[in-house]
């Protein structure tokens, strides 16, 4: 499959294959990074959205009307994301927004959506701030950075002897890394676990050996690694093992710890490393399995977090549109969709969805955050090159291995 960004001149993508795009179609706007270093992620969402829309339109669309998605490139720049969101709302006349990808851009989109009174369904961006500012036009399906570690938290509490005697936390100094590290450390401190190392590194660090050398000196019981970049995830783990850190558990937080390359690059070094993610896919579930197969058949790659989040988002939007009374008046329709979203109560491949106002782990009140987000956090483990869910038990595909067999502790 060609992975190159297609050098066609029309970046404005119109996907409504079952029916021609017409004034009848229901437009969704999605700012995504289509060029620049984040482009691979934008591409994942594009594929996911396309597949979801095709499916929905093939089944007759929403109340007979086809869905249409308009993806525009924000190049991972905040200001550009704001510009594009405005453009989609005022020129593109979209009914609802989704996407964003990175939290900085999502913040801008949320701000614009709130001010211009257009609903925005956040599918992937994880900064808590996006749904803690009381924006009633912004909804989020996926877990936030502070909710992310929920599965890990329950694991150390419930699994026998899993409470760390000490923990070293190494994380990148980005919104993502900082939020997760802070949440995890707060939780561990509340359980009186000493944090023997608290190391923030700049994203795309070339060499983790110095940090790991320092961490080794603190002799941690658990090594917790947070990385927003896949490359950092792989190098962190590699250097930790090469330096010879001996821990009862190596736990990675971040999508990069769950991609196929993690195992193929690290080989035996990946064995028994835990990966905490917002979704690892439960193949026990027939719907998940079907999605996996279909995606792979169509695009030649297996879907992960990003793809499933994008896919699910379209279904949530379609569901809301189905229930909304749309009259053709743009402002009124957007408000209708907002109300419909607020009343959502459904299950997608990603998990159950119901938006509510509740207080999150940071202590800040959420507005329109999926109340089931904590359940979506899953702990998986690498076994012989395969990533398998191990916790919570309800989603487990195999038995957990703990402590790490390589440890002398």
């Amino acid at each position: 499959m060609r992975k190159l960004a297609s050098p066609k001149w029309a970046l404005l993508l119109t996907v409504g294959l079952a029916a021609p795009a017409s004034a009848q179609s229901l437009k969704i706007g999605a700012p995504q990074p289509m060029t620049g270093p984040d482009a691979p992620f934008g591409d994942k969402f594009k594929k996911a959205y396309s597949m979801a829309i095709e499916e929905i339109n093939a089944a007759g669309g929403v109340n007979g009307r086809p869905l249409e998605i308009v993806i525009e490139d924000h190049q991972a720049k905040n200001a550009l994301a704001a510009t594009i969101a405005e453009k989609l709302i005022t020129q593109g006349k979209v009914l609802v927004l989704t996407g964003g990808r990175a939290s900085g851009q999502a913040m801008e989109i949320a701000s614009v959506a709130q001010r211009l009174k257009t609903p925005y369904l956040v599918d992937h961006p994880s900064a808590d701030m996006i749904t803690t500012k009381g924006f009633e036009w912004v909804f989020r399906n996926n877990p936030t950075g502070s909710i992310y570690p929920s599965a890990f938290d329950s694991f150390v509490v419930e699994y026998p002897n899993a409470m760390p005697r000490s923990a070293a936390v190494v994380y990148d100094n980005t919104l993502f890394g900082k939020t997760i590290a802070t949440a995890v450390m707060k939780f561990l401190k509340s359980k009186n676990v000493p944090i023997v190392a608290d190391e923030a590194y700049p994203v795309n660090t070339l060499d983790f050996k110095p940090i790991m050398t320092k961490v080794k000196g603190t002799s941690p019981d658990f090594l917790l690694m947070v990385a927003v970049a896949t490359t950092d995830a792989i190098l962190l783990t590699r250097h930790a093992k090469e330096i010879g850190i001996d821990a009862r558990a190596f736990v990675g937080f971040g999508g990069g710890f769950g991609v196929a390359d993690f195992a193929s690059q690290l080989g035996p070094l990946a064995q028994n490393v835990f990966s905490s993610a917002s979704w690892s896919g439960n193949p026990n579930d027939p719907k998940t399995k079907a999605l996996y197969e279909k995606f792979h058949a169509k695009y030649g790659i297996w879907p992960h977090e990003h793809e499933v989040e994008g896919y699910a988002a379209i279904f949530i939007i379609a569901d809301a549109m189905k229930r909304a009374k749309l009259t053709g008046n743009l402002d009124a329709d957007r408000d209708e969709i907002r109300r419909a979203l607020a009343a959502t109560d459904m299950t997608t491949v990603f998990g159950k969805v119901k938006f509510g106002n509740w207080t999150g782990p940071t202590g800040d009140p959420f507005t329109n955050q999926n109340i089931y987000s904590p359940e979506q956090s899953v702990l998986a483990q690498w076994r012989d090159g395969q990533l398998l869910n191990v916790w919570p038990k309800a989603f487990a595909e195999t038995a957990l291995v703990f402590p790490d067999p390589g440890t002398k502790r």
């Binding site: 960004a5 060029t35 620049g36 200001a79 005022t90």
Partner: protein, 318 residues
């Protein structure tokens, strides 16, 4: 004459054009003009090439947003203060970097900008680290008896236009001032300028101060209009390069150049982004190379030298 026409066009635009997206683009053009003018003052007039101007922009942005969110100071006061703080910060920066000449100065500015970004990422008690700051509501303001609607584009348009006017006027003032003359001398041959008695350090520091003030104004406006500031958005080297680009393409050392550069960047950049799926950075890189090779005086510089009836272009005339 040209000035009056331009001012009228700018003033009338939001009345004629109701399209909010178009107004948004205009606001962007104005903001970039301020930033291009900021760089132009130092790079075009004084000949000091800085690759770190984003640091000054970022200082302005953070100042304005922090004063508002933590101090309750309305952004229309915060923006000029942002400029002021950036100008003050530029003094020690200048004293360090101006000891160096030419490319060494440029490299030093690069290092300073990277240090600023590092500071913003890590001094959380000041900058909130990577989380940044978000403005959710702007304070209410009544002007001439009417409540200002911050959801509309017009108030921002007006403020951006005023900032742009200030930038252009200060550049014009600089050009015909004594300081401006000193800068021409310094740009041509700094040692000779010293030899004839010009206090080059003072001239450069003052010029940097003005440049920093403008960059800080731009930053403050960014915080006010885009409402979200984090280290990556306001302190990245890409921003510094965009400022260089605008000034160069527009015409170094000219007064109107930054406006031309900003229009070019915003319109052509948007078009390239939409139709060619090419990251606009390819466009910048390519154009920078083309301009330096074939059009070193920039678009405006070329226009002036080519159009009949305009007075002969001195190196550095508007």
């Amino acid at each position: 004459m040209g000035w009056v026409g331009g001012a009228v066009a700018v003033a009338v635009l939001p009345i004629l054009v109701r399209n909010t997206f178009f107004l948004h683009v205009a606001i962007l053009v104005f903001m970039w003009t301020v930033l291009g003018a900021a760089w132009n003052v130092l790079g075009g007039f004084a000949g000091q090439v800085s690759f770190g101007h984003a640091a000054l922009f970022g200082i302005g942005a953070y100042t304005t947003i922090i004063l508002f969110l933590k101090g309750g100071l309305a952004p229309w006061w915060g923006i000029p203060l942002g400029g002021l703080v950036a100008a003050l910060a530029s003094v020690p920066i200048g004293l360090i970097c101006f000891r160096l000449r030419g490319p060494y100065f440029s490299l030093a500015t690069l290092a300073v900008a990277e240090l600023a970004k590092l500071a913003a990422l890590n001094w959380e008690w000041v900058t909130n680290g990577p989380i940044g700051f978000l403005i959710t509501t702007l304070p209410s303001l009544t002007v001439l008896g009417r409540r200002v609607d911050w959801e509309a584009k017009t108030p921002f348009y007006v403020i951006a236009a005023l900032l742009m006017a200030f930038a252009i006027l200060s550049t014009a003032w600089l050009r015909q001032s004594r300081l401006g003359a000193y800068l021409v001398a310094i740009r041509e041959d700094e040692d000779a300028a010293e030899a004839i008695g010009i206090d080059t350090v003072r001239a450069k520091v003052v010029t940097l101060g003005l440049s920093a003030f403008l960059a800080g104004l731009g930053g403050g406006f960014y915080a006010f209009y885009f409402r979200y500031v984090d280290p990556d958005a306001v302190l990245n080297i890409g921003l510094s390069m965009e400022m260089v680009f605008i000034a160069m393409v527009g015409g170094l050392g000219t007064v109107v150049g930054p406006l031309i550069g900003a229009i070019f960047l915003t319109t052509v950049g948007e078009a390239v982004r939409e139709h060619f799926q090419v990251g606009h950075l390819i466009f910048y890189g390519l154009f920078m190379m083309i301009v330096i090779r074939f059009l070193p005086e920039g678009i405006w510089g070329k226009v002036r030298s080519v159009l009949p009836g305009m007075r002969a272009v001195r190196h550095g005339a508007p």
